[in-house]
Point group: D2
Chain length 141, copies 4
Amino acid sequence: MNIQPYEHTVQYYETDRMQVVHHSNYIRWFEEARTYWMDMIGVPYEKVEELGILIPVLEVSAQYKSMVTFGETVLINLVMDKFNGIKASFSYEITEKASGRLCTVGSSSHCFLDIKNKPISLKKNNPHIYEIFKNAVAEQI
Amino acid sequence: MNIQPYEHTVQYYETDRMQVVHHSNYIRWFEEARTYWMDMIGVPYEKVEELGILIPVLEVSAQYKSMVTFGETVLINLVMDKFNGIKASFSYEITEKASGRLCTVGSSSHCFLDIKNKPISLKKNNPHIYEIFKNAVAEQI
Amino acid sequence: MNIQPYEHTVQYYETDRMQVVHHSNYIRWFEEARTYWMDMIGVPYEKVEELGILIPVLEVSAQYKSMVTFGETVLINLVMDKFNGIKASFSYEITEKASGRLCTVGSSSHCFLDIKNKPISLKKNNPHIYEIFKNAVAEQI
Amino acid sequence: MNIQPYEHTVQYYETDRMQVVHHSNYIRWFEEARTYWMDMIGVPYEKVEELGILIPVLEVSAQYKSMVTFGETVLINLVMDKFNGIKASFSYEITEKASGRLCTVGSSSHCFLDIKNKPISLKKNNPHIYEIFKNAVAEQI
């Protein structure tokens, strides 16, 4: 499986008075990339939620390497670093599309909850989705 | 009942590369003012939702008179123009606190839904809240 | 010139606790559609700003017809209704891509400013861009 | 100097379809708390920018301990951990006001830029602001 990086065109409303993208928006772009990646591996997040599984964010971090501005498009590469059915973590790399310039790197970690917000093990709760994630991690190595 | 105008301090993340507040944020400030106003008249919106009543936005409009920027604080005056238990409408006036400068005027209209997203009449569904809104409109006149 | 409608995939961060897209985001989507449209007719907004021309929003309105939620993609049709070089107005129609369901209609009006925030006439200030907008309006009729 | 924690009332538009505050908004609240803290120590950020000094974010991180929802108010405690005139870092603790429940902890690091986006040393560039930050760090210990 060869997933193309997620592409995001900078929007005017994402810029701030420093004339660059506000730093909080990269955290939103990480989420956009995760959503896209889940679509690509065949477990759209809205379908996962319909099955009563939530995947909240436990931790997030970003390091800003160069500023991005309006008129630019970025590519977001995402790797699922770790996954054991109880927790999952991702790392992200954002580059400017035209120049290849590195803009931001980051990470996020997540757990799995049922609709009562109780932590679950995906391996028990939904072996099918568990296998898809497991395979996705393996193929990335 | 004499409700003080709602006060909002402009945040950096609300500005855009034109170095002023992005126009979409005023729509959010209207919501902040509604939420505050409902607190003030004794029907906090989170309590209304707990009773299974949603108040979605049907229409919204804003006219921008002068730009607001970081470092400024605005006052938002809100009037509930119309209310019949089935629909409600509000008008808004945003002024800069220090100068009194008129910044934005706007309006919103709303209906009332139950948790199945079915329109309801507040008069039947919750006469108590109906009366509070009814009185709020009357006192403003 | 036949411009395809602008396409936007709903993001998780655009939803609110009513489990649908927050109403303020449609105002942002109108802006996304304008930016796209300006790209399509050959006057990318970032290039217009580089020429020292700003196009702020004077008025905006939206009427919400049906709710949009996570997992859906919308199409945004935009028409430049009026343009005389001093003011411009647009109307918008948002439909859900898969079903064709009408979601939101809206409008915005704008003026043109120089970098000192002084209103300008595009016909005098930049006849080239004036002609492009003028033609765009004509072709839509 | 005894600075009260910054207080933020959760807004409806800050929630997402998981019915809690979207994780990206805590990053924005960190910024709100920094802006407030700079006001409190006597160097409002808008004044610093007027002097041609920008303080961009180099890194940000957040760990989510418990979810915050609409109807709640949070207190944000901020400490400037490190400051040497070239870089500065902050740590944050967000608690729910009514219960004292720990919600989020986080950190951010920053540098100082002139208006040409060139890194500067505050000690050389503006000794007055340098001293205020230096004292602020000392008093926190």
